[in-house]
């Protein structure tokens, strides 16, 4: 079966600043990763391991220096206008910093209707109903529609970002540290809502995080990124068995669940 989204031999290097000729700094090398329809994969690693760069390449926000990203078997670079619209509707992303990901001058209703306007052929009359449905899916009041992002809490704006990503009924949602900075009750609430969505609509997820607890709770399998390479991968069930030192470091860093306990 063709994977929904696949990376083949992806490599990326960023130019180093300054006027001296410094060779570009490689941030990703030889990345092979395939996400099947309905699958939930966690991409874990420390800050600076290349997680967000990989997410951006998979979204087509940046072009890789090496390798290709395949959407349902077709290289991203070769998609025509129609193909790109389908791709953008099918693959959506939620970013880490919710307030910087929305236009502060737009009301929530407009923010949520934007992907509907650009990426779907939903008639304008039906958009309002879809917006109301989206707010319900992420557990927000219908009145939130007329609010500005600044009038909502950080956790609420994060849920707006999530609702916007779900607007086009995507096949895959990439969550780039989208739940890491919420408090524990909100993390559990959002993960439970996403799991429910998965059950009902078969949406696939790529959870990008440094928190192995979130990965273990939510994903089918875990892929560990360290210094720009995939160093370890394992299914989450029955038990998460990771052996690479970078993965052990993340596991060992999990804070104790109780005083004096593990």
């Amino acid at each position: 079966m063709t994977a929904l989204l696949a990376a083949q031999g992806l490599g990326k290097a960023y130019a180093q600043g300054g006027w001296r000729r410094v060779p570009p700094r490689p941030v990703l090398a030889g990345i092979d990763l395939a996400i099947a329809a309905g699958e939930c994969v966690a991409l874990i690693g420390r800050s600076g391991s290349g997680k967000s760069t990989l997410a951006r390449l998979l979204m087509g926000l940046e072009a890789p220096d090496e390798g290709t990203v395949l959407f349902r078997g077709a290289p991203l670079a070769g998609l025509d206008r129609g193909g790109l619209t389908t791709f953008r509707a099918a693959i959506q992303m939620v970013l880490q910093d919710p307030l910087s990901a929305v236009n502060p001058r737009h009301r929530v209703g407009r923010i949520l209707a934007e992907p509907l306007r650009h990426l779907t052929d939903l008639p304008p009359a039906s958009r309002a109903a879809r917006v109301a449905k989206l707010l319900e899916m992420v557990g927000l009041d219908p009145e939130a529609e007329s609010r500005l992002p600044g009038q909502l809490s950080g956790g609420q704006v994060q849920r707006i970002g999530l609702a916007r990503a779900l607007a086009t009924r995507p096949a895959l949602v990439i969550l780039d540290e989208a739940v890491s900075n919420l408090d524990a009750p909100r993390q559990v609430d959002i993960l439970d809502r996403l799991a429910d969505l998965r059950r009902r609509h078969g949406t696939a997820f790529l959870l990008v995080t440094h928190d192995i607890r979130l990965a273990r709770r939510f994903a089918d399998r875990v892929v560990v990124l360290s210094e720009g390479r995939i160093v370890d991968a394992a299914p989450c069930r029955p038990g998460l068995a990771l052996s690479h030192p970078a993965a052990r470091e993340l596991l060992d860093a999990v804070l104790p669940s109780g005083p004096g306990g593990p």
Partner: protein
């Protein structure tokens, strides 16, 4: 200054909507003792950061303190006079807390008391930045989040204040960096007898670091006690909700509360 006990009594903060006052922090009391870690825990928006800001007289515009006093070793003290003398603080987002145009050494030279080279070297060594002699010459953008947070703790140590307030000191860091910063703070409390107030929403941080815990909900302290009894026998719904979510993340089945 060798104060022993810093007490905030009846701290209240409000904002206003039109003429209508809206209370944000209500009658909060906190007691910090040297050599001990007090954790102030609450969900987002519970008022924990505002309570700290009121303690230091650093309330943001649009809010005002309506009551409360700060007592240092039994003497009532002006909050503004505490900063940098009795209390040092470590902020949440190290990247925005530093001036991007000044080096770390410049920042250190600005701390009260005009520390000399030796004092700086000692403080950087205490936070684990002593191995690299270039650290004082680095600009914030040349350092990782974990290094910046260490540098901020070093600046706090330079003030020689006996109390340290750390507002979500590890929220922006990855788990590995978080663990190391928490180990560092625990070590400093032991070695220097600091009194630490750590503000957090993460009960993992509380379990790792705290001796006593105060739980805040809707601007009010609802429960205070030793860390062990709070985890073993939470009395308030707010505490139980935080614990239930915390344990759900650790995959420990939640006990049915009768």
């Amino acid at each position: 200054m060798s104060a022993r006990v810093l007490r905030a009594e009846g701290l209240s903060v409000e904002t206003w909507r039109g003429r209508e006052p809206v209370p944000l922090v209500r009658d909060v009391g906190l007691e910090l003792r040297t050599g001990e870690v007090l954790a102030l825990v609450g969900a987002s928006g519970s008022g924990k950061s505002l309570a700290c800001a009121a303690l230091l007289d650093l309330l943001p515009p649009g809010t005002r303190r309506t009551g409360g006093q700060i007592v240092l070793d039994g003497t009532e003290t002006e909050p503004a006079g505490l900063r940098g003398r009795a209390v040092a603080s470590v902020l949440q987002a190290p990247r925005t807390a530093f001036n991007p145009l000044r080096t770390i050494g410049d920042h250190a030279a600005e701390t009260p008391g005009k520390p000399g080279r030796a004092a700086m070297a000692e403080a950087f060594a205490a936070v684990g930045l002593g191995d690299d002699p270039r650290v004082p010459e680095l600009y914030p953008f040349q350092m990782s989040g974990g290094m910046l947070q260490r540098a901020m703790i070093a600046l706090a140590l330079l003030s020689r204040a006996p109390f340290l307030i750390a507002d979500e000191p590890t929220t922006d860091l990855d788990l590995v960096a978080q663990r190391r910063i928490l180990d560092l703070l625990a070590g400093l409390v032991r070695a220097r007898g600091l009194g630490l107030l750590v503000v957090t929403h993460d009960l993992g941080v509380v379990a790792r670091l705290a001796d006593r815990v105060a739980v805040i909900e809707a601007g009010r302290i609802v429960e205070t006690g030793p860390v062990a009894s709070l985890f073993a026998d939470p009395r308030q719904p707010a505490t139980r909700a935080l614990l239930a979510a915390h344990r759900a993340l650790h995959e420990i089945p939640v006990e049915v509360v009768a």
